[in-house]
Symmetry: D2
Subunit: 341 residues, 4 copies
């Protein structure tokens, strides 16, 4: 961390300020130039509060050089984190490294028939994971909020029948006991900075799929992962799902450049949700290919047997047939990237 | 709700679609023009899922005419909601109507001495409420997270000594039992769409100060209020605290035009947080005046005895002296708006 | 300007880099700490290209301490710039200092009758300037593009009859010869970075009203002013007119906090356009008051005798009657700010 | 266009309003429902001003169903526009249809040696077009503004020597006479809504590469193209170059989903500028591949022999060696899309 002091700060004032800083267990690199004094903080600055420093009357600017995350930082963990879900009777579900994980399924679990048939369809087409929401965060209190525990139960039956590991969203820490057999716990975009929830997930021993918030920065996404990892849970999958912007031709702006940016900063796997990002199913194939070309470690795609009658987000769901056609094309793009679906 | 069907939809197809829609207990106004069929949904459309409709193969566009919120809607509750906190020994704290409520205090409770002295200062200067955080949502897990239950206790002591009603943030529904003597429960911007939390607050009988999310729309803010109100708690105070944008000269962009917009759409009081919006204390006086001139029902202002050593957000805090000077000036602006502080 | 070199840069490499930098006629403050070398560039760094520096293989970060603008910089010109338009037969039009300038009139000049009657109305109500577009930048080539030279002529007739100085938009440098009697030349938001146009306006001796671009930063706005001032024309009026954001309840987000921010950085006057910012007339009074309370030096307000039949932007125009009612209220807010309309 | 009238509008009022609308040479589809009257405007509504309509006191909402652009609209021109630049001695430069056009070269022409050597390098690597700026739009008046006419001359020499068609930016219509031998005229992002410039380019018979504005919507981009096409010039190449957002890890957010969206709405070719979008060279290869996978018709990539000493935008330029390595990889992605570079 570099602190530029205001011009006309005297050497004495600066030295006194240095003594205050040293109490925060960093050492200070003091550089007195002709015009300005610049302090370099050496050591672990992740715990130092930039904004508190900036409020000091001697400080002109504070520049963070070191990233504020540690466990999520590739600098300290150069090797890619690979998430592997052992599976009974089937191949393991893997995301990261040379394996491109495909998570597919409906937005919401709606009935036993629906989830079992969709699970079978996506498994056949080659998906590695089944998704399906039982607890749904909805903008309106009057919209369908998911089937709840019953939906979760149906999802777990589908897991049993197909052998596919399952991914589903947790909205509230109270629900955690119901999630014992869930393989990957999803944190939705609107909960990305629900710090209480993140902290609790840090204590649990299950991979967490963490969606980027609606307008969160890359650093905020990594700090949210850091909350989980600080508790001891290192299995975090980051998910780009579009950010809010001013244009309305897609629901969100899919920010694919965050993939190479994240891959440089962190060892965690990065997947993409083209369904929620664009909000329209006909864009999903094109943006899925683009995500792979941009270096994604996986995709989470909505597939629904009857999008027109879906209880939520039908507009963005592929039919099983379209999904089955898409998969072989995605494999070719994965191959060009040296990866295997 | 207006549904424009695709050109070339036959009368027969449209009639069949109407029968499906009628099952959602709305009546349909069928308008067949030369070029296109337009359906008007009459009745309570708040429970109808726009996106599900938009996924239907006959539908070209869906346009919501009626707002999706009901209890928060001024149309159904024309009179301003006024929040009154009875106070022992002092005047009641009031927000809404002809009363402009001023909430002041430190970002975080840091010590007994600090909170008692600040409470006394802001009370003397004329604030109607004391704010102070005990549980702090911080971007980094390594930053100071608030004093927790002990901080809450100190805040309540300050309430006792000064008679000021207190406002403090709840991050997690588990904390609710500690909040029994808290007068106004704050929901932070990052939790604005923590729907589990909102639902629980709907069941509690305490006013809720709901901060606008970092990039939430006006409708999303009102829908978040609707979550609370749907549970039976009608005492919601909306708070504009700046939205995320591309420029960096302020921390957020303070969107004062949402005040007249909200006042037209809802009967709920609207207050402004100039401290978090701008992130710099020297802008707070100017933006406080502007907020009053734009029609705000109140302000929530950070005041800290020693901003340079504040454990969080010092850069945006006023000193008690500056706050005391500001208050008489704010009163003059309030008077021009026909309001009383 | 502070340049942080990458860790592990050797002293020798750094010294060599310093020699390269010194050719750009700045002197270098060399600070070698234990961990990192930091260079401080002393002197006029406005001409130094940050991005070119950032491309250098030794450079980790470049931090601009000094602002990149000079003539627009309050540091070098502490006194407020005041724009005065001498007027025959009437009081001078003034913007800046203790005078709050009100510019009013229709979006477009539509007919002789219209502009003369409106000019008379706004003059009576106390406006200091008449606005009216003859050349209109329209999103669609099929929309009304303004009356052109004939419209300009009518505007100048209105100036003659009322004595009000006039403000009108120049879209193309070819039109400049027609603008000889125009008092203030407006540059629209979409042309804020039309650098050829700005450069030409730097050579002309007329005040320029420069509108902030749709998503321009404060620094970009000041650099656009600097383009004009670098040519020798110091009379630039900055205008906040709302920025693009994700919400749609107003056309743009009126960013009033840019007023105190600009007043600190520059000596140039800052006015606000509440009509284009909000896009709806019923918000204009409230946001006009807020703009004054936030420290604006003036307002530019659309007034139209018949908003429903306006050829453009009727939705955001006040009627002359509403404008006349508004003016005395604005005067009260101006007084609180120690200013006179 | 659908106009929803306010509730309680009488039949008589509505009929009168219809008569006014009919004067705009559209026919009206009148639909009187139980609750609300809805008007459908049939015919060419591109010239109708939505905002003017919205200002009418009877109007609740105006919904555009038909797009406001005509010549750029795929509805009326289903076949892809293909831009072909005949070339002496070499293969023609083609963008669109089954041909993926690669435009490469330096940000600025800096010297004869530089541009000739780069032209030769990119030609060998397989680029179809040479880019190079002679007139540069720079945020600061103190930055290098391009070599001007001399730079243009050097670019044309490079064209002569290599046979590559050239693309260069026009900032001002005065420069047009110098551009006689330029093959593709570029309009920069900051000039996307410089309507005077667009109109003049409509009269010229040269393809125009139109960059999306910093925060322009898809419709605004297409309306800017429509300005050019309305003048009779149908050869417009659209270019996505990133949009402004709140995060800073890339200079702009590359919005690749606009490619499928545009391909559906318009017949014009769409290319991508990964260099300006990301602002950092190491992201360019990944985002180039992603752009092709998303369906782009071409790429415009900055290549500089000595990025560290480039006079502008060095940070985002590839070296000729990296570019030469990238090309065969891009060909593989193009093949998967059924295209040829």
């Amino acid at each position: 961390m570099i602190i530029v002091l205001k011009p006309h700060t005297s050497s004495g004032e600066a030295r006194e300020f240095v003594r205050v800083l040293e109490k925060q267990s960093v050492s200070i690199d003091f550089s007195e130039g002709a015009a300005q004094i610049v302090l370099g903080l050496v050591g672990d600055t992740a715990h130092i509060d930039e904004e508190a420093l900036a409020a000091h009357h001697l400080v002109e600017k504070v520049i963070r050089v070191q990233e504020p995350y540690k466990r999520a930082n590739r600098l300290f963990h150069p090797d890619d984190t690979i998430i592997t879900i052992p599976s009974k009777g089937g191949p393991a579900g893997v995301i990261g490294g040379k394996r491109l994980g495909i998570i597919a399924g409906p937005c919401s679990v709606e009935s036993r028939e629906q989830i079992l048939s969709l699970a079978e369809s996506v498994r056949k087409a080659g998906a590695g994971f089944l998704r399906g929401g039982a607890f749904k965060p909805r903008t309106s209190p009057y919209s369908f909020q998911g089937m709840g525990p019953e939906g979760l139960d149906l999802l777990l039956q589908a897991k049993k029948e197909t052998g596919l590991p399952v991914v589903t969203e947790l909205m509230d820490i109270h629900q955690l006991e119901l999630f014992e057999d869930v393989d990957v716990i999803q944190v939705g975009a609107r909960n990305m900075q629900n710090f209480s929830l993140l902290r609790e997930l840090g204590l649990c021993r299950r991979p967490v799929l963490l969606k980027r918030g609606l307008s969160s920065t890359m650093t905020e996404l990594l700090m949210a992962a850091e909350y989980i990892m600080a508790g001891g849970n290192d299995d975090v999958i980051l998910c780009e799902r579009g950010i809010r912007s001013y244009d309305t031709f897609t629901r969100n702006v899919l920010d694919l450049a965050i993939i190479p940016a994240l891959k440089r900063k962190t060892h965690l796997p990065v997947i993409v949700d083209p369904s929620h990002a664009t909000g329209v199913s006909w864009m999903v194939p094109q943006m899925s290919k683009a995500a792979i070309a941009a270096g994604a470690d996986g995709l989470i795609i909505e597939v629904h047997n009857d999008p027109e009658h879906a209880l939520c987000d039908g507009e963005q769901s592929l039919t099983p047939a379209v999904f089955a056609e898409l998969m072989p094309r995605l494999r070719k793009y994965a191959e060009l990237e040296g990866k295997k679906i």
